[in-house]
């Protein structure tokens, strides 16, 4: 089994946006989806996870609606709003940029400078 990864502050929100952008999901489903995509390498605490959900909903980046889950239970499904989509794109670009810069610096060898 691969080693678990700790998330930097504020990253959880982007991951939730990404998870929801693939299709409406209920809370627990989002959690599972992120873990699944990460290859079970992320350990997400339930407490901070829901705090993140509430904050995103408060910012109107995701919106929740009650519906039926796959095993016929009432569950609250979250989907991305237009503002959420913009936010996701901005955050994604920021991440890729930053990762490229950091990776570029870190991967340099002494003779390349």
């Amino acid at each position: 089994l691969a080693k678990p990864v700790e998330l930097p502050q504020g990253t959880l929100e982007v991951l939730i946006l990404k998870a929801v952008s693939l299709g409406p999901l209920h809370g627990y489903g989002i959690l599972l989806r992120i873990q699944q995509i990460s290859g079970e390498r992320l350990e997400i605490l339930q407490g901070s996870f829901y705090t993140a959900i509430y904050r995103l909903e408060r910012q109107c980046w995701i919106k929740g609606e009650w519906g039926e889950s796959e095993n016929n239970r009432r569950a609250r499904f979250y989907s991305l709003t237009a503002a959420g989509r913009r936010q996701l794109k901005a955050e994604t670009d920021k991440w890729i940029d930053m990762a490229a810069v950091v990776a570029g610096i870190l991967s340099k060898k002494a003779d390349e400078i």
Partner: protein, 883 residues
């Protein structure tokens, strides 16, 4: 309600049950997941609940996430503060009342001061409105009148922006069985525009209502209270007709409630003619930037010219001086010191109240030191503790402020109901003054915050662990802030003593006024005013016969024991002030007396004895014989040999102005003194008796008279039959609508009413101050006792006498109380000259301080003794263990 819900939805879009339902659905999903991974069902449920927590906690999580946490904490703090206050009802009630009394009294008294003295008038540019007086070379300032053409000259003066003139008449409306007295003000047609207060209905008087030299339009504007009283506030009154003394007037408007110029019931256009007989009261508005002194200088020549043209409208003096003043100057002069004094008193009360709260909060803070040490030890941040203390202080002081607001409204209505009538501008709308209310609340809240936060200052000292270990109650060393306490108590006591001393001076002064020997018997006598209508009974025989018939008709009313004509002689302040001459003696400078026009029954009606000579009889009265009766003061001052009777005097200023003042032939000559009566008051309750003289009322008759009616019982029950008797002589004749008995007129005198008001209010405020100070002493002593219970237990266990312990408790507070008492007495003695002048009590006797000091010591001892006795009566074993 819907708006609040909408607002709340925008802050917290999801309901708690919604959040909980989602939580439960997650819980179920997680549990299913765990079962799928192979856990048994009950074990899966247990693990899910352990990992996810309780659903209530989820709601808290939600509220934190959307940023509501500070509000939740604030709510918690408020609940905690309220619980704390409810748990210590004694502390809370005293603290809240201390603040409330201070806020309420200060706001109420300042509101009255503001409304009466600072900004009484609703009129346009009232700061530039001015009243003109003339001051003779000797004597008090007086009114004067000007004629229509003089008014036009006055308006053209370069310092005057505009001026209007007014005349007053008692009119009547008919409708009920007797004509009703109506106070009419005739205004020059620019009057309403000058005063600039829009009427509530219709229009005011306007220039087209009275063109100079023509008869004015028959229009009337109703006064607001008359409209309510007579027309029951009928909104359709405009356009209707009102009959005044059998002339029809069209009602064109109703004046605003605050428009009470001249206290009139109806306002009518004044007829301006070239007539030089009648004088009217002028009122001016100065041009912007013109001072009163400049106006005096600029108008003086004009006024002197008027005085030459119409000498009868001015005091008979060649040296008159014009005095331009604010229209409310005499109110400020009469009532100002009283109100400022009261304001000073309530400011002291506010200070004492705040002092009390400080003492209570400091004491409470010290006893809660342990609590805060524990809280900070288990991780409460300093900021968090300060926030909680702040909340507690605000809950306390805002509750105090709320109660204070209610008290302020109550106090204002009590003061307004007891203000001396006619001693303040009728226009003054007395209502709560918001800036001062805010100021007092700010002072109170500031005090609450300053002293409420005191535990936080203590926490900043790095001895939290020490405090916790010492369990602060066990040692004297930790009795903190003792110096602050003592300082506060000394200040509080000094201020309360100052107030008590001031109050006793005021009460003493009032009692002296109230117990003045009158020299006449006001009991069961009423004065019935009878105004004579313009243009009626214009000659001496007509008017004399009319008054005699009125008098004899009233005397015949069943129940009337004596009826007497008293045209201008109704005590305790009566008579025209005028100069007189004595036949055969040089006229001294300033030789004036009070000149009274009465019928001979005046003396038996008021039970004033004749001490020398004789009274004139009915026949002499009928022919207006030139006979005089003088009082003892006059006889003693001008005839020290006791030979007043037989001398003659003359009143040079008594000149006829028909038809407004009709004199009998011969009244300008020498009049023989035939008798001397015993002294009675003639210049108010607090001033010495002036020389006065009485002549038959037929000697000079103006546009009205009064009939004094003495009866067996309460005279006012006879008023209707007396009015009917008056009306039976002339069907248009009303009696004044302000008939009262003579005892009432005494209590209406400004010096009486003012003293009454000041004594009650000052006394009440001083009693409150005393109570607050006593509570302050009580709480400090009980707090010290509680702090030192262990120590006392140990002392007693080791064999100390209880007496000794009692001495320890009382010694310290004894020193504090005596220094406060001394400080207060010293301040009072220093200020006494100023204070007694303001209180208008001539007493400067230091003996009034003895009962004050005694009362105070009594209160201090009882406030001290209860907790001290508790300390010594405690069982030593329990005291040692006392936590």
């Amino acid at each position: 309600m819907a708006a609040i819900r909408k607002w709340w939805r925008s802050i917290a879009p999801r309901t708690p049950s919604d959040v909980e339902e989602e939580f439960r659905s997650t819980l179920d999903a997680y549990q299913d997941d765990l079962i799928r991974r192979g856990l048994p069902e009950d074990e899966a449920g247990r693990r899910a609940r352990i990992e996810l927590g309780r659903s209530a906690a989820q709601n808290e999580n939600y509220r934190n996430a959307i940023g509501l946490r500070p509000f939740d904490e604030l709510g918690g703090d408020i609940r905690y503060s309220v619980r704390g206050l409810l748990k210590n009802p004694g502390f809370s009630v005293v603290a809240i009342l201390s603040l409330a009394l201070g806020i309420g009294a200060t706001t109420a008294v300042f509101s009255v001061v503001y409304a009466i003295l600072i900004d009484p008038f609703p009129y346009a540019n009232s700061d530039r409105m001015a009243h003109m007086w003339v001051i003779p070379s000797k004597g008090d300032r007086q009114f004067f009148g000007i004629t229509g053409s003089q008014w036009q000259q006055l308006r053209k003066s370069p310092v005057v922006e505009d001026a209007f003139i007014m005349d007053n008449w008692n009119l009547t409306v008919t409708g009920s069985d007797l004509p009703e007295d109506v106070h009419g003000a005739y205004l020059s047609s620019n009057g309403f525009n000058f005063l600039g207060v829009p009427p509530v209905l219709g229009r005011g008087l306007q220039p087209s209502d009275a063109i100079d030299g023509h008869d004015p339009e028959s229009v009337a504007v109703l006064g607001y209270t008359f409209w309510q009283r007579h027309f029951h506030a009928d909104p359709s009154v405009v356009g209707k007709t009102i009959q005044l003394v059998r002339n029809n007037f069209t009602i064109v408007g109703v004046a605003a409630p605050s428009f009470t110029w001249g206290d009139a019931d109806v306002y009518l256009p004044l007829k301006i003619t070239g007539d030089q007989i009648k004088g009217f009261f002028p009122e001016i508005r100065l041009k912007p930037g013109v001072t009163h002194t400049q106006a005096d200088a600029a108008l003086q020549p004009l006024i002197q010219q008027f005085a030459r043209e119409t000498p009868r409208h001015f005091p008979a003096d060649t040296q008159i001086k014009l005095h331009v003043a604010d229209p409310d100057e005499h109110f400020v002069k009469d009532l100002g010191p009283t109100l400022y004094l009261l304001f000073g008193a309530v400011l002291l009360l506010l200070l004492i109240g705040c002092g009390n709260v400080s003492i209570l909060l400091l004491a409470r803070a010290t006893s809660r030191q342990h609590e805060f040490a524990v809280r900070s030890a288990i991780g409460a941040s300093r900021r968090r503790i300060i926030r909680q203390l702040l909340t507690e202080a605000l809950v306390l002081s805002l509750t105090g402020a709320g109660v204070g607001l209610v008290l302020a409204y109550r106090t204002v209505s009590v003061i307004v109901a007891n203000l001396p009538q006619f001693s303040f501008p009728r226009e003054a709308a007395i209502q709560i003054n918001v800036p001062v209310l805010l100021f007092s609340i700010a002072v109170a809240v500031g005090t609450g915050i300053l002293f409420g936060l005191s535990p936080a200052w203590q926490l900043s000292r790095p001895e939290v662990s020490q405090v916790m270990q010492a369990s602060s109650r066990k040692t004297i060393g930790s009795v903190r802030g003792r110096r602050t306490h003592n300082g506060l108590i000394v200040g509080q006591i000094a201020l309360s003593v100052l107030m008590l001393a001031g109050a006793s001076a005021a009460i003493e002064g009032f009692l002296r006024v109230a117990h003045t020997r009158l020299g006449y018997d006001p009991h069961n006598v009423m004065s019935v005013g009878i105004p004579i209508h313009d243009g009626t009974y214009k000659t001496w025989p007509e008017r004399a016969a009319y008054l005699e018939r009125l008098h004899s008709k009233v005397a015949e009313v069943p129940g009337v024991t004596v009826a007497a004509v008293s045209s201008n002689a109704t005590p305790p302040a009566n008579g025209f002030n005028t100069k007189f001459e004595i036949l055969g003696k040089p006229t001294a400078q300033d030789q004036t007396f009070r000149f009274n026009l009465v019928s001979h029954e005046y003396f038996p009606a008021l039970r004033i004895p004749l001490v020398q000579g004789r009274m004139w009889d009915s026949a002499e009265e009928h022919r207006a014989a030139a006979l005089v009766v003088v009082n003892q003061t006059l006889a003693r001052r001008y005839f020290p040999n006791g030979d007043a009777v037989g001398h003659s005097i003359k009143v040079p200023e008594l000149v006829p102005q028909p038809p407004y003042l009709i004199t009998a032939p011969g009244s300008d000559g020498w009049m023989l003194i035939v008798g001397v009566i015993a002294d009675k008051l003639d210049d108010g309750l607090s001033r010495p008796i002036l020389p006065e003289a009485f002549v038959p009322f037929t000697v000079a008759m103006a546009m009205g008279t009064q009939i004094l009616v003495r009866s067996q019982g309460q005279p006012l029950v006879l008023l209707h039959s007396v009015s009917a008797a008056v009306n039976s002589i002339d069907r248009d004749q009303q009696v004044s609508n302000n008939v009262r008995d003579l005892e009432h007129w005494i209590s209406e005198l400004p010096e009486y009413a003012r003293g009454h008001l000041v004594s009650w209010l000052f006394g009440a405020f001083a009693a409150l101050a005393l109570a607050l100070a006593a509570v302050g002493i009580f709480s400090v002593v009980s707090y010290t006792v509680v702090q030192r219970t262990n120590e006392f237990g140990i002392r007693i266990a080791l064999g100390a006498k209880r007496r000794h312990v009692l001495w320890i408790v009382c010694r310290n507070i004894g020193i504090t109380v005596s220094s406060g008492l001394l400080a207060g007495l010293l301040i009072f003695v220093t200020l006494q000259r100023i204070l007694t002048h303001w209180i208008q009590s001539s007493s400067s006797s230091p003996f009034i301080l003895v009962p004050v000091a005694a009362l105070f010591i009594l209160c201090a001892v009882s406030a001290c003794i209860i907790p001290a006795l508790r300390a010594v009566s405690i069982d030593p074993m329990r005291a040692v263990r006392y936590e």
